[in-house]
């Protein structure tokens, strides 16, 4: 049995914006996620990381390409099989205010998935809701309250409990801590880590805080204007970033201590181009300090240039 849980193959998600123009939010992306790992996904706003996450779980239908889960192609799955895949893949959203229905009690929010998948009924269902609340660090009595009665960090815990309710094996966490205060972020990150250890969960963790992504992830993918630029083991990516964009991204990270200010070398680049009218060739070519003639003409291919280190850049072809 292979240890690959999610396989993404040449996935594309284009949006039509009128006049025959398209935004290529996800453009020709291929990678796989191993069972039990955390794959971090970083990129600036508009790089398509959220669209990628949502297309993978099937929330958006792909324009072309495929996603397969535990060996089954999402596009061909039907009926019971499809429901089963839907149960196995869950999402945690960024904004804990708007991702919970304000008119439902917390218990009802968490129980929705349990009912939809027919996992439990009556007393057993209530029992499960209570267990889930305790699991995410809330009190069973909280099931009777409404979302507005909770703080941001607590609401994010409710969102996590809802995702866990159907006993998934794969969770896409889309910026789950970005809206939270610093002191609360660590609580939620530790909770996610504990749950992973407990239930062998696999995570796709989307974020823009590089230090946090490095801390959480086994591997990290770097996206830029809808394309995957580089994918490698976390330590490897930080020790030896290959793509010029990754190098820029790492150089712009704030220092962790004021004494490092003088040592840092910043690579300064211009403004990002519009996703509506992306550059030809490599999308990063307009800002790249090492761009060559060929970069303007064709897009580089996605290749494994070193063991487990993938990059799309002509410097390595």
């Amino acid at each position: 049995m292979s240890d690959i849980l999610v396989e993404v193959n040449e996935l594309r998600k284009y949006y039509s914006i009128g006049n025959g123009r398209q935004v290529k939010s996800v453009d020709d992306i291929s990678f796989s996620i191993r069972k039990g790992e955390t794959l971090g996904l970083v990129g600036e706003s508009g790089s398509g990381k959220s669209t990628l996450g949502r297309t993978i779980v099937g929330l958006y239908p792909p324009t072309s390409g495929s996603v397969s889960f535990a060996g089954t192609d999402l596009a061909t799955a039907r009926g019971r099989q499809k429901r089963e895949i839907n149960r196995q893949m869950q999402l945690i959203f960024q904004d804990p205010q708007s991702s919970l229905n304000p008119r439902l009690r917390v218990g009802e929010i968490i129980a929705e998935g349990i009912e939809a998948h027919g996992l439990a009924k009556g007393r057993e269902k209530a029992e499960r809701v209570h267990q889930l609340l305790e699991k995410v660090g809330l009190h069973p009595d909280h099931a009777k309250r409404y979302p507005h009665e909770f703080s941001g960090g607590q609401r994010q815990r409710i969102g996590i409990a809802r995702a866990l309710a159907v006993q998934p094996s794969f969770i896409v966490a889309d910026e789950p801590i970005s809206a939270l205060d610093v002191s609360i972020q660590a609580q939620v990150v530790n909770l996610l880590a504990d749950l992973q250890a407990e239930s062998q969960l696999t995570y796709l963790f989307i974020a823009h805080d590089l230090a946090m992504v490095k801390y959480i992830s086994d591997r990290i993918g770097v996206m830029y204007l809808g394309r995957m630029m580089e994918l490698a083991e976390s330590d490897d990516l930080f020790a030896k970033p290959l793509h010029p964009y990754t190098q820029v991204l790492l150089s712009t990270m704030p220092v962790s201590h004021p004494k490092h200010r003088a040592e840092r070398e910043r690579i300064v680049i211009g403004e990002p181009p519009s996703p509506i009218n992306p550059p030809t060739g490599c999308p990063f070519q307009t800002r790249c300090p090492q761009a060559m003639g060929i970069c303007k003409q064709i897009a580089p291919t996605w290749r494994e240039v070193e063991a487990k280190h993938w990059v799309a850049c002509f410097l390595y072809e």
Partner: protein
């Protein structure tokens, strides 16, 4: 040299349905010339309200500065009228807000928005104001400033807009710039550029900056001094390096520990601060952090601790540093072990 800004015992409250929210409860600090002071804290700690109070922008009837003094170069601001305050804002204190999307007027040309400030405060003629505005756009790193002058805010990216806001803040060579989360809405690559720009401008012009942020990375990047706010109170303040190396308040320690360092191995757990900040309708009588503090003693919940000085500028408000509280080190190390 005299301080550019001195804030003393500032109290700000807001009336709300549930009663009175005591957003700022006795804040004092000073900003020296050419220095950057970072005010750090989580949402609701009162850091933005402090900035607004300095600028005289706490709006009646809901909000009220209940007590305290704000002196800009020795001149008391809290008793100034509306007109006089407007003269101070823009001319002597520049402002940069978090959201560059909403702090510019969408119906006015970019250039006109900068020139407006120059015409009002420096009494420049229209033509001179235009020239100076284009110079300013160039100074904040906007390419083709003359063309940009004629454009509207929606034609610019977020980073570009924040540069324009900075140009407006700088227009009259203010002594002090107050920047409220100026890079929070921006991507990291743009954030780095904006912070570098502020640093450069400060070096060339000698402007003092108050940087309000929740991001310790931003503090490490730009600040000379920092003040850590919690529930309307500055719990610790001092030189940035000293506080990063040797935080004296458990809350500051907690904040520094709860963000991962790049050299932190993934096996090592983050140390979160448990619980949540207190309700400011009825703030606790004692230290506001006591309920979440690993080292809290009985006294902490009942009486507000006094300030203890650790060096000329470094001070913190915590009972652990009271001379009657023995064995601080033991308490701290015992607390640490609990987490491991």
């Amino acid at each position: 040299m005299t301080n550019v800004l001195e804030v003393e015992d500032l109290h700000v409250s807001f009336r709300a349905y549930g009663g009175e929210i005591q957003a700022v409860r006795g804040v004092s600090f000073a900003v020296r010339p050419g220095e950057t002071l970072a005010i750090v804290g989580e949402s609701g700690c009162g850091k933005s309200v402090t900035a607004r109070a300095i600028l005289g922008m706490v709006k009646a009837p809901r909000g009220r500065v209940k007590k305290g003094s704000v002196r800009l170069q020795g001149r008391e601001l809290s008793c100034l009228g509306k007109k006089e305050l407007q003269q101070v804002r823009g001319a002597q204190i520049g402002m940069i807000f978090q959201d560059p999307m909403t702090s510019l007027n969408p119906t006015m040309k970019i250039g006109t928005q900068i020139a407006e400030v120059l015409i009002k405060h420096q009494k420049l003629a229209k033509k001179q104001a235009r020239e100076k505005a284009i110079e300013l756009l160039a100074a904040v790193g906007i390419p083709e400033p003359a063309r940009r002058y004629e454009q509207y805010p929606h034609e610019c990216s977020g980073g570009m807009r924040q540069r324009i806001v900075i140009a407006i803040a700088l227009a009259c060579d203010p002594e002090l710039i107050i920047a409220d989360e100026p890079t929070t809405a921006l991507d990291v690559t743009i954030q780095a550029q904006i912070l570098a720009l502020l640093n450069d401008l400060q070096r060339t012009k000698g402007t003092s900056i108050i940087m309000i942020t929740h991001d310790l990375g931003v503090v490490a990047e730009v600040a000379d001094q920092m003040a850590v706010m919690y529930a309307g109170i500055i719990v610790e303040q001092g030189p940035v390096e000293e506080i990063f190396d040797n935080p004296q308040h458990p809350y500051t320690k907690g904040l520094l520990q709860s963000v991962p360092r790049l050299d932190q191995p993934s096996e090592e757990r983050l140390i979160p601060i448990q619980g949540a900040p207190p309700d400011l309708f009825a703030p606790p009588a004692g230290c506001p952090f006591a309920a979440r503090c690993d080292h809290a003693m009985e006294v902490c919940a009942q009486y507000m601790p006094k300030s203890t000085a650790f060096s000329a500028q470094h001070q913190a408000k915590c009972w652990l540093h009271d001379r009657r509280a023995h064995r601080v080190e033991e308490l701290v190390s015992a607390g640490r072990e609990q987490h491991v």
